[in-house]
Structure formats: C-alpha cells, structure tokens
Symmetry: C2
Subunit: 308 residues, 2 copies
C-alpha cells in the first residue's frame, strides 16, 4: 500500500465568520491534509507536535480514520499551537487575531521509521529548514515531494526556501505568494520563474477562483465548485493539497494527465471543507458524497465542441 | 442562414495600459460583438449611431468581414461617442478619463427590415428603454435574446431594466453587477435571484477568472485562458458575448449543453481580443487560430476521472 507522509501543524483554531464563531477547535495544516488523504485508503502518517492540552479524542478520531499519529510528538508541559482569525464579509480575506506558536516554536519533526520510505511526502507550511530536515530523514527518495509555503517565509528565510524548493517536485502556493516569490504579476510568467527554481510542477491556488497546475508549457485549470454559501474557508488549501497528494499516492501515477485528476480531487474535497467550521465536514464526509460531487465537477467543466 | 442582430455602440476609444497608449481608435460594444460574431459565417447586422467624424474605412472593414452596417445611422453634423480610460497595473480595474456621449445621447435604434426577423438578438449595454425599443421592432419573436447591462442603469433606471429583462432569455453581467442587481454576495444565490426576474439563463462574467453559466440548478464554468500578458482588456466582455451569440446563431441550438460550447467559444475569442489594443487582434484573427486555441481550452479543462 502506498504511504503518504504529511508534515504540518496539528493545532487549535478559533474562527469567526459572518455566520458565527467558534471556541478553540481542531485545526492545523497536518490535520486537514491527513483528513483529506484519509479518503483514499492509503497509509497516511502525520508528523507534528502538540502540547499537553491537546485532547486525546482528536488523535483518536484521526486514528479511527486510519491516520497514523505516532509522529505527533506530545510535549506534556507545553501548549498546543493556537491561531485565531476573523473572516471579512467576502470570505476572501481575513485578519489574524491571535498567533501563539507555543510548542511549534522549537518543533523538530521526527519521521517515524515506518514512514521513512513514504512514496509521497507533503511538506506543510513550516520554516523551510524544518521542511528540509524531513527530507533529510527519508531513507528512500520519495516518488513525489509536495511543498506548501507562504509569504512570511519569503520575507524572513528566502535563501532557505530556495534551498528546499530545489529538492521538491510540486510547489503549492497561492496567487499572491506566487507573485511575491517570482516578482511576476502574470501567473503564467510567475509559474515559469518558479519552474526555474526547481519544482517541475507548480500549483497556484486562487481560492474561490480555482487552481492552476503548470508543467513545462502545459496548463490545467480546476475551478472551485460554486457554492451558495462558503461557511468557513479555514483549511480549504490544506484539504486541497491533501486530496491532491492522496489521489497521487493511491494511483501511484505522477504523470501530468493524472495530476489533472488529482487537482480535481483536491478541489472536490476542498468544496466540502468550507461547508462547516473547521474539520467538522471532513470528519463526516463519505465516499458516496465525494463521488457524487465529482459528477458535479464534470458537469461544471466538461464540454463537447467538435474541433477541426 | 441564421441572422444575428447586434445593438450597441460603435465608437472611439482612447486607451492607456501599462504597455502603452493609443489615440482615438475603433471601439464600442456593437463593434466588438459583431467582429466576434463575424467568425461564424452567419448574417450579422449591427445597429448603432456614429457622427460625421467616423471614418468610412472602419465601416468598410466591418463590411469586408460580412457585417451588415446599414443599421449604423450616421449623423453628419454630430460627433461619435468617445470613451477614454486608463487601466491600472493589475489590468482588472480602470479609471474612466473621458466619456463624451455625443450622438449616443439621443440614439433611437432603427432595426433594418432585413433584421426584423433575426433569430438571435444581442442587446448591448445601453439604456434599458433603448434596449426594449429594439425588441418592439422585431416582427418575429427571436429564438434567443441576450442582454448586457451595467451598474449605471441599475442606479438610474432600475424599473426600466426590470421591465426589459423580463423579455429576454440570457443576461450577461459581471460579478459585481450581479451582486448589485440581486443584493446577494454569493454568485450562486445572485443567479437564482436574477432567474426569478425573468432570464432563464444567467451568464456571470468574472474577467480573468472566467465566466459562469447558470440555468435552473445547472452550472457551467469556462475559465479565461491564462495568458502571459493581457495587453488591453477593452472589449473582452463584448467579444465574449459576440462569440456566445454567434456560435448559438450558427448552430441554431439553444440547449444548455450547446450553450456550454457557446461559453467556451466566447472565452476563446475574448482571449485573443486582449492580446492587442482595441480591435486590432480581432480584425486579423483567422479560423485556424481559433481552432488551435480551442484545443488549448480542451487541454486546460478536460480531465478523465473514473467516477463510480
């Protein structure tokens, strides 16, 4: 069975949207990535760190989904990473209210023996040196390494970021970050510059405006499913990445044609994530719901023009 | 042969973008719509008004493309409608520098006898009463009436707008205008409200983020082709509408499935329009280029997931 290793945060989020607000609930990139990947019947392991305040019930829930959490270090005397944010009315922008790094501040990921030969590695948004340290621990070269990052690391650790992205296959990045990293406004030109930095595949996430996959001269586009209501966008990007990686791990086919399908799967799962607060929707998602919505994606995008 | 009647402005534009600026060049919604429609080998007539300052060479160019301009009234002592605008660096927003209505101020469209039985009517962005007066002149009920409008008419003539959109089949509108007209932020909900106002089909144009087609519970999405450089967005929306209408007039099939193709054709033509200033690219566009880019649209959007 294919193995997927997901490195990222397992955390508390407190979220406010025009639809309501939450207390501290389960969040974090490692959480969303692994929950999405758990849809694919592969062996998914998550590497992260939490404090003594982190409920065992959350880990139990992840284990029940087949997610291996032995790589989640628990620092009894520490506190779990906490993020709080408030979304604006358009749901496309948000203000961060609180960021408490806590145990994340000195996070040194340790890859469990069992996942040192994972075929797909998803490096969630962390310091580039932390991301690199995960690759250093792999005993076999993964078939595919996917990396997520953000503007913050471009500001404070650009050289380290350049070093690690030389070692990866796919970068997932949002449109503004792609512009920042490349210095190009046009996303086509931005992807070209980022290709030259190393990654053979560039995925540019545009939130409600979908996602673009670039490879050499080829481009594929997956829309976000138009929804009557986006309830909470938190975790949508990580869910997208988890669906993308999980599908590729399951199919063991990293061709561009199959990556198109992976992008659709990622968009599909993300469309569920935003329907409820935090991980609520993803925890209860069934395979039947996923399949049904794939039909909606086909209806949304497929056409049949005769071309001469 | 199918007939398409396009009512709109035939005008002068002066455009400034980060790539350069123009003197007064050919522009106007009627111009862009009919140039796009002329790709389809149908009989296209344009109804508009110009002043004595309007060069015969522009009309000759349109005639050479098979566009019937007998409906373009020439007011010898008047001046042609003139718009001047400057695009910001992101090309998504622009400032209007000059608007001189001139002969447009008292424009009373007169539909030529030959087009009173047109099967497709495209009502370009004009006062809703002007748009309605065109429908009043049709001797046969058109198979399809498509209407474009803008926020300005919602501000100053909302009741008239509501009256005319009860009489049409398809409304094309941009995302901000759809929100203004419906009072709904979500485009899915906006389309639902606009359906209730009359049009069975709602096309929401999102510029570089593509276009959505809504019909009952169905949604189709066409992306804009990602381009390395958008040189001048002027006329892209009208070119989209002209491609949409022209394709439907040519195929004489107004089913939802065929409208998907029409949306793709519209997006395809719009992707050329933005490559040069004004009408320059559309004037020289060949059928071979159009067909080739349709392949690019297929590559961009089509995938092949097996769904259970």
């Amino acid at each position: 069975m294919s193995k997927l290793l997901a490195v990222g945060t397992v955390a508390f989020d407190a979220i406010e949207t025009p639809f309501g607000k939450t207390d501290k609930i389960l969040g974090g990139s490692g959480t969303f990535v692994s929950l999405a990947a758990s849809q694919f019947g592969i062996k998914t392991g998550v590497v992260s760190v939490v404090g003594g305040d982190f409920p065992q019930a959350y880990l139990d829930m992840m284990n029940a989904k087949g997610i291996d959490t032995q790589g989640v270090e628990i620092i009894k005397e520490g506190k779990t990473f906490f993020w709080s944010g408030k979304y604006h009315n358009d749901m496309n922008s948000r203000d961060t209210l609180i960021t408490e790094l806590n145990v994340l501040e000195h996070f040194k990921p340790v890859v469990p023996e069992d996942f040192k030969d994972a075929s797909v590695v998803m490096l969630g948004n962390l310091h580039p040196l932390t991301q690199a340290s995960v690759l250093d621990q792999m005993t076999e070269k993964p078939k595919l390494v996917v990396l997520d990052t953000m503007g913050f690391w471009m500001d404070i650790a650009l050289n380290d970021l350049h070093d690690v992205i030389k070692r990866i296959d796919v970068i997932t990045i949002n449109d503004e970050e792609a512009r920042q990293l490349s210095g190009e406004y046009s996303l086509v030109n931005a992807a070209k510059k980022i290709h030259e930095m190393g990654p053979k595949y560039v995925v540019i996430k545009k939130g409600e405006h979908g996602a673009l996959l670039f490879h050499e001269e080829k481009i594929f586009f997956a829309p976000a499913l138009p929804l009557a209501e986006v309830f909470d966008p938190t975790g949508a990007g990580d869910t997208f990445a988890g669906g993308f990686c999980g599908f590729l791990a399951m199919t063991e086919d990293i061709s561009f044609e199959n990556m198109k399908n992976a992008v659709i799967y990622g968009s599909n799962l993300a469309s569920f994530c935003v329907e409820k607060f935090g991980t609520e929707r993803m925890e209860k998602l069934t395979k039947e719901e996923v399949q049904k919505r794939l039909h909606a994606f086909k209806q949304l995008t497929q056409f049949d023009i005769e071309i001469n």
